[in-house]
């Protein structure tokens, strides 16, 4: 085999690995988002990272809601595991987002290492479609291990970055396939309707392997657990959340 042919074969293998072609993709169903993602959708069999900003870094409510909406269709394919360190995930609230909360397997870990270990174990296990973990910041090595675990049975991983005791986020790089920054966005109930509308998020695709970044406002549509793109915000970093911390 000539050198060129061998190079070509290696390139093809790399491209196949990069695209995660084996496990397929989960399209958002909106060209504005899917065009930013390699293969036209959220790559499955990889792991993805979501984080909030400001107080959300500690409570991780919007990021958890967004990830629950993303992972809900995967629950049809197999079991879903949610690894957490603080036990404040409320199943009825998950169910309200269209997630089959009564089938979700919840795991509570005592520390970061245990949480990452449990997440890796779950991702590499048979019969698991997705595993979601609330961890502070997976190191490059831990991220690589998560990726290897994902590849064993094609499970999709989600890491919600959450600092349990507040403070600044550590900006460690990671091996995630995509990295999302999630913030709440004001809802827009129909004119004349009292109360709150369907939940909305400002969703920024900050980094994406083989794709390009983007930012949108998404809304949870009523019918299924799917997300609907309301507006495109353009390829820019979101404004930092208001950090008006007053004495008290």
């Amino acid at each position: 085999m000539s050198r060129e042919a061998r190079l070509l074969a290696v390139r093809r293998r790399i491209a196949a690995l990069e695209a995660g072609a084996a496990a397929g993709v989960a399209p958002f169903g909106d060209a504005r988002v899917d065009a930013c993602l390699p293969g036209g959708g959220l790559p499955l069999g990889r792991w993805h990272e979501a984080a909030g900003e400001g107080m959300e870094l500690e409570t991780a409510a919007a990021a958890a809601a967004f990830i629950a909406a993303l992972a809900a269709p995967l629950a049809e394919r197999g079991a879903v595991v949610w690894v957490m360190r603080r036990q404040d995930l409320y199943a009825p609230g998950l169910a309200a987002l269209g997630f089959p909360a009564e089938r979700l397997i919840q795991v509570c870990a005592r520390d970061e290492a245990q949480a990452l270990g449990a997440l890796e174990d779950a991702l590499g296990a048979e019969g698991i479609a997705a595993a979601i973990g609330e961890v502070e910041s997976p190191s490059l090595l831990a991220g690589r291990r998560l990726q290897l675990a994902c590849e064993r049975h094609g499970a999709t991983g989600f890491v919600i970055r959450r600092r349990l005791f507040g403070g600044r986020a550590s900006e460690a790089g990671s091996a995630a396939a995509t990295r999302w920054i999630i913030a709440a966005a004001p809802s827009a109930p129909e004119a004349g309707e009292p109360g709150l509308g369907a939940p909305r998020w400002r969703v920024a695709l900050e980094r994406c392997r083989g794709g390009r970044p983007g930012a949108w406002i998404m809304e949870k549509s009523d019918d299924a657990s799917s997300l609907r793109v309301v507006a495109e915000l353009g390829d820019r970093q979101l404004d930092p959340a208001p950090s008006e911390r007053l004495a008290g």
Partner: protein, 470 residues
């Protein structure tokens, strides 16, 4: 008055006996060494000895103050017979400095009588208890001192004489207790023993000629014994939910390891893998001479036909059971759960933790989704400072964790009353209701707030933040 609680062989040879006045004993034997009796320590030692005896049988009951009853049904063949088993037991106890008398009989009562009143290591053949008991004094029936004394006074010195009496006379004359003890000794009446552990026929044991101590040897021994028990479970079509592995050391202590399974299982490889990380924590001391394994919560387990893997098929619980087992054994059984619906209005009680693979119960109707419920619910609601225009209205402004939030939209109230039926009647206060509001601030973040109690112009209302919507 101080009395002797127990005497050793030497003291007994001098004519001393338990119950004797200490001063009398000191007079008889001037150089007598007297130690204070410690009943609590004796009881603890007896319990420890019962645990030690688990190497002989999984069913060991204590017989205070100084006896142990072992159910050796189906175990004696491991020693090559009852005689060698008893010899082994007594020799080992003697090696530890414990003087012991042992006997084997059909019933606990008969064994007790032989152990206390027959030559040491008496073995009553199956069905031969009555003959073995016949010459023994009536005190061997575990009677109270008064009962035994009365029988002896009437000339009924041995059990044969008592058993020969018409039964309808014995009860009225000497009391039901005497009849019951006689029947228990002869095996015609049952006797409830409180075993330290429930007897399990699913028990395997391996003894080593040379004590083992390296982690590799321990792992190999546990793998072998798991295989033995798993094969027996396989033949019987059963699986266990819990496996107790015990390493009995030369020092007499047992190192116990327990693993649990989410579904009953008998896969020796999987069980051995669950034990593997635990074995590393075992301190073998001077060496391990016996390993025992018991399966608990054994249930019928039908053999399963292996299926062709079908694409896109939903995982059933058997697929993920190994993962649940690994997580539960590493993090603790309480750390892995599934949320089940519980019919309660109180948000804290609407979720009940269930075992991850337990089938959904019929009363789990699911949660009512028409009411807003947050994604994150705080275990303790957090106090917030609130500004409300009208006392009964949702706030227009609140401060939580030092950050100010201006409310843009609000929904509610949803009034949740306290569950008065769970309190004493006098404590049931209809004012203890919470008015929940779902509010959205200018940035779009959603909060679940409540006001404690009904509106009262005298006291300013208290507001709390109970959860966050994503």
């Amino acid at each position: 008055m101080r009395r002797l609680a127990a005497v050793d062989a030497g003291a007994a040879g001098l004519g001393l006996f338990a119950g004797q006045k200490a001063t009398d004993a000191a007079a008889l034997a001037p150089r007598l060494v007297i130690a204070e009796a410690e009943p609590a320590a004796d009881a603890a030692a007896l319990t420890a000895l019962a645990d030690w005896c688990a190497r002989f049988s999984p069913a060991v009951a204590t017989d205070p103050p100084d006896g142990l009853i072992l159910d050796i049904t189906g175990v004696a063949h491991l020693w090559g017979g009852e005689g060698t088993m008893v010899d082994d037991l007594v020799t080992r106890l003697a090696g530890s400095g414990l003087a012991a008398r042992a006997a084997i009989a059909d019933s606990p009562g008969a064994a007790w009588a032989l152990a206390h009143f027959s030559p040491d290591r008496s073995l009553a053949a199956p069905g031969g208890s009555a003959a073995a008991l016949a010459p023994l004094p009536v005190a061997a029936l575990r009677l109270t001192g008064a009962d035994a004394a009365q029988l002896t006074r009437l000339g009924l010195t041995n059990i044969a004489a008592l058993a020969a009496l018409p039964r309808r006379q014995v009860g009225p004359r000497f009391g039901a207790q005497v009849v019951r003890r006689l029947d228990q000794a002869l095996g015609t009446a049952g006797e409830a023993l409180t075993f330290r552990r429930p007897p399990s026929p699913w028990f395997a044991r391996a003894a080593f000629v040379e004590p083992i101590s390296t982690p590799e040897d321990l792992a190999r021994a546990s793998g072998d014994i798991v295989q033995v028990l798993a094969a027996r479970l396989e033949v019987a079509g059963r699986g266990g939910r819990r496996f107790d592995l015990a390493f009995h050391g030369l020092d007499g202590a047992a190192r116990r390891l327990t693993i649990g399974l989410a579904l009953p299982g008998r896969d020796s490889g999987a069980i051995a893998r669950l034990f593997a990380p635990l074995i590393e924590t075992v301190d073998p001391g001077f060496g391990i001479e016996v390993v025992t394994l018991a399966a608990r919560d054994v249930e019928a387990l039908a053999p399963r036909q292996a299926e062709f893997p079908a694409g896109g098929k939903r995982a059933d619980s058997e697929d993920i059971a190994p993962l649940i087992d690994r997580l539960a054994n590493r993090l603790g059984a309480a750390a892995v759960w599934r949320a089940g619906a519980f019919p309660s209005h109180a948000p804290e009680r609407a979720v009940k933790r269930r075992p991850p693979l337990a089938p959904a119960k019929a009363e789990e109707a699911g949660w009512r989704l028409e009411r807003p419920r947050p994604l994150r619910l705080f275990r303790r609601p957090e106090p917030i400072e609130v500004m409300a225009l009208v006392p009964d209205d949702p706030p227009v402004f609140f401060r939580w964790r030092g950050l100010a939030h201006r409310v843009r939209r609000a929904e509610g109230p949803e009034r949740l009353a306290r569950e008065w039926w769970r309190r004493p009647f006098d404590d049931a206060d209809p004012d203890k209701a919470r008015d929940y509001y779902r509010v959205e601030d200018e940035a779009g973040a959603r909060f679940w707030l409540f006001r404690d109690g009904l509106y009262d112009p005298q006291t300013p209302p208290k507001w709390w933040l109970h959860g966050l919507f994503g």
